[in-house]
């Protein structure tokens, strides 16, 4: 995994975090900042993605640029970069039948698969998306 100092023009700055043993990332330019308070419009990201909410870890709140929304995610949260060569578009099957709302792309770094989310495409309220298939994956 490359560090932030190794950022080049061929790398994408991202905010990394994990939900239920899955690696996720958001573009850093879409994130305005991070705080310890949820604010009036805060909601756990797992709720918006239809995943079980982790309650036993410290939670950070990401402020999304251009929006009043704050997304709650569990520690650890890291500012990192992904090489452009590791980015992969969604396969046609996933584009036709997305497992997660706001899933924009994937990144394959060695044996690790990271899911890239578009925070602007997240639903406003609790989603009824059935992610049982995602929960069954290791």
């Amino acid at each position: 995994m490359s560090s932030l100092q190794d950022n080049t023009a061929e790398a994408l700055a991202v905010v990394r975090f994990r939900i239920a043993d899955h690696h996720f990332a958001m573009e850093a330019r879409a994130v305005e900042g991070m705080s310890r308070e949820p604010g009036p419009c805060g909601a756990p990201l797992e709720t918006l993605l239809g995943l079980p909410v982790a309650s036993d870890t410290a939670r950070r709140w990401l402020a999304i640029r251009g929006s009043q929304r704050r997304l709650g995610i569990s520690e650890p949260v890291e500012l990192d970069s992904i090489a452009a060569s590791a980015l992969r578009p969604l396969p046609p099957l996933l584009q036709c039948r997305p497992l997660l709302p706001a899933l924009a792309a994937m990144a394959l770094e060695g044996a690790q698969l990271s899911l890239l989310l578009d925070p602007c495409a997240l639903p406003d309220k609790h989603t009824t998306h059935n992610n049982s298939e995602l929960e069954m994956q290791p």
């Binding site: 560090s3 932030l4 100092q5 950022n7 700055a13 905010v15 850093a28 330019r29 994130v31 305005e32 900042g33 991070m34 705080s35 310890r36 950070r60 949260v77 500012l79």
Partner: protein
């Protein structure tokens, strides 16, 4: 800088940092409010001065259209409500013009005032047209010159020719009917029909201005010419009245068609309707002038709005730059203050931890040195006081342990001697008893030995009293040990509370480090968003976050060490409590021994009294030998009890000696002055 920070309290440093941030935010807020006031004034100028004039100008243009439209409808239909609409629109135009002239824009802007003055003249011309237009709608003859020409030249001829034709037909009634006369009457009917068609075509032309009606009129004219030719061929059949009427008809007919070209010229020209001509020329030009003046006024007002908008945009951009610069200043100051505070605290805390570790290892001589006058300095001073107090306490404890050890040894020796004496006394009493039993008959020997018995009993009594005094000394020493042990326990508990205060300080440092990590993350995020220009700043932010992680790891290690110290303190408390329980047991045993020694003193006193009584009652021994033997047996029993008690005292004194040795060994773990 570090020395200056060390002289400040940690709370003062934190409040100073927050005060600087609040001051920056306050300056930023005042600048933004000042700019917002300026923007509000400009918006007020646009909304309350320029915009009403623009709306009035647009409304004026709308009412001009409405007036023009209503006038056109009224001229076409002559309906009264169109006339009312036209006049109402003129009133609205006058009212709007008056309001615009009274507005602040007209007073403050010379260009607007000049435009409104020009507009007032043009609108006055527009309104004056009503004096010429409205009468035209009520008088079509005056409005259409063709109708006036026809009324003057053609209509009298038309009536005359119709009358001549009727007269010719009416004159046929006096003639006798015949086939020729019927043909002639039919021809006159045809002429009347042709003439009627000519007048109908002329009216249609006047009404609709269509050249097809002129063609119809010419065809009927040709037909009538043919009828007139036929009538001339049959002129011998006409009576005088008919012949005269035909002659007059023919003359009028010639005049009628002589006037027709003039009618065609008037009615087919541009001025066939006066109102339409006025609308196309004077009124249209007047409207063009008014619209041009209105467009000029609106263009000037739009330029004024554009100027105000541009200034407002410049003001907003300046406000944005102020906010960005102030935010960056606040961020840099917050990071710098956090970094300086963390650096100044970590080194001094590590120094303090090293000193406390030395104390925890038992080195009560090591100095605890820390500079400054803040809370850490207070903590170092408190730790130094605690170390000094522990040092004094352990020194005193060691001294008392040595004293107790020596006293215990003396007690053991004394008890050993007492045991020997007691044993000797027991054997002596046994011998006395046997002697008394054997020599009961010999009162003389009893009298001799009774003195020895008195001496021995007196000696026993004195030894027993010394043993009791020694036990009282042991008891007082044990009470001193108990008080010292309780003092040590209190000092250890105070050490535990101080270590908990250190834990609270560690929690504050952890909170500051967590906040620093959050700020460093956001700073790195901003640097990443800034692209290439924020790359170096991102490196600094990442380094700050790494340092905050290092602080968190260090505080975790410190907390672990403090936890070990607290565990050691807990074990020390337990050991001290066990020692206190042992001391309490020792004191109880000492009390019990003292009581037994008191019993021994009493017994010795009784022995002495008895021996004296024996001595004094030597003469009575013979008679009371049996009672003496019984008494001596009781003495033997008491001696046996005394021997057992002394053995127990010996055991207790051994235990005391072992305890004092253990206490001495424990105290050797400490290094003290």
């Amino acid at each position: 800088m570090k020395q200056l920070l060390a002289t400040m309290r940690i709370r003062t440093r934190l409040w100073l940092g927050f005060g600087l941030l609040i001051a920056i935010v306050l300056i930023q807020s005042i600048s933004v409010l000042w700019n917002l006031d300026t923007v509000r004034d400009r918006v007020d100028g646009v909304v309350n001065h320029v915009q009403p004039t623009v709306l009035d100008a647009m409304a004026l243009d709308k009412y001009l259209d409405a007036a023009n439209r209503s006038l056109g409808f009224f001229l076409l239909s002559q309906e009264e409500h169109h006339r009312a609409d036209y006049l109402d629109s003129l009133e609205q135009i006058d009212a709007l013009l008056a309001r615009m002239q009274a507005s602040s824009m007209a007073r403050e802007d010379d260009t607007v005032a000049d435009a409104l003055q020009a507009l007032e003249g043009s609108i006055a011309t527009f309104a004056a047209m009503q004096q010429r237009m409205l009468p035209l709608a009520e008088n079509q003859t005056a409005n259409q010159p063709g109708l006036a020409y026809a009324a003057e030249h053609l209509n009298p001829l038309t009536e005359q020719m119709a009358h001549q034709l009727s007269q010719m037909i009416f004159a046929e009634r006096s003639e006798r009917s015949s086939a020729e006369r019927r043909e002639l009457l039919l021809l006159m009917g045809e002429m009347r029909h042709a003439w009627s068609s000519i007048t109908t075509s002329l009216r249609a032309y006047l009404a609709f201005r269509n050249d097809d009606f002129i063609a119809d009129l010419n065809s009927h004219h040709t037909l009538l010419e043919r009828h007139l030719a036929s009538m001339s061929e049959q002129q011998q059949l006409l009576n005088l009245e008919q012949e005269d009427a035909l002659t007059q008809f023919h003359a009028a007919y010639q005049d009628f068609f002589a006037y027709l070209p003039g009618l065609y010229e008037i009615h087919s020209g541009d001025r066939w309707r006066t109102d339409a001509w006025l609308i196309r020329t004077e009124l249209g030009e007047n409207l063009e002038v008014i619209r041009g003046e209105l467009d000029g006024l609106l263009l000037h007002l739009r330029e004024a709005i554009d100027t105000q908008s541009g200034e407002m945009l410049s003001q907003a951009e300046a406000t944005r730059m102020i906010v960005i610069v102030m935010m960056l200043m606040a961020l840099v100051m917050a990071l710098g203050q956090a970094h300086i505070t963390a650096q100044s605290l970590i080194g001094r805390i590590n120094s303090l931890i090293g000193s406390v570790k030395q104390v925890a290892k038992g080195n009560l001589v090591a100095e605890i040195e820390i500079e400054g006058e803040d809370e850490l300095a207070d903590l170092a001073h408190a730790a130094t006081e605690m170390r000094n107090h522990l040092n004094d306490l352990v020194a005193r404890l060691s001294h008392h342990a040595h004293t107790v050890n020596g006293a215990a040894k003396q007690i053991s020796e004394a008890v050993a001697g007492q045991a020997a004496t007691s044993s000797q006394m027991s054997s002596s009493v046994a011998e006395i008893t046997s002697t008394m039993e054997e020599l009961s008959a010999s009162s003389t020997q009893i009298a001799d030995h009774s003195k020895s018995v008195v001496d021995i009993s007196n000696t026993t009594f004195e030894n027993a009293k010394r043993g009791a005094d020694a036990m009282q000394q042991v008891k007082s020493q044990m009470e001193g040990i108990q008080l010292d042990n309780q003092g040590s326990l209190n000092d250890i508990l105070e050490l535990g509370s101080k270590s908990k205060e250190i834990s609270k300080v560690m929690e504050i440092i952890n909170a500051v480090a967590d906040q620093t990590k959050l700020i460093a993350f956001n700073a790195a995020l901003e640097a990443a968003s800034a692209g290439e220009s924020g790359k170096r700043f991102g490196v600094v932010a990442a380094e700050i976050r790494r340092l905050a992680d290092s602080v968190t790891d260090s505080t975790s290690e410190i907390e672990s060490k403090i936890g070990h110290i607290q565990d050691a303190i807990s074990r020390l408390v337990i050991n001290s409590e066990k020692g206190a329980n042992g001391i309490t047991a020792g004191m109880e045993a000492t009390d019990h021994t003292a009581a037994r020694l008191e019993d021994l003193v009493d017994a010795a006193s009784q022995t002495s009294s008895a021996s004296q009584q024996i001595s004094l009652s030597t003469q009575q021994q013979k008679t009371a030998s049996n009672q003496v033997v019984i008494a001596l047996r009781e003495i033997v029993t008491a001696s046996s009890n005394t021997a057992q008690s002394i053995n127990r005292i010996s055991d207790i004194s051994h235990e005391m000696s072992e305890l004092s040795s253990e206490l001495d060994a424990l105290l050797h773990r400490f290094h003290f002055k």
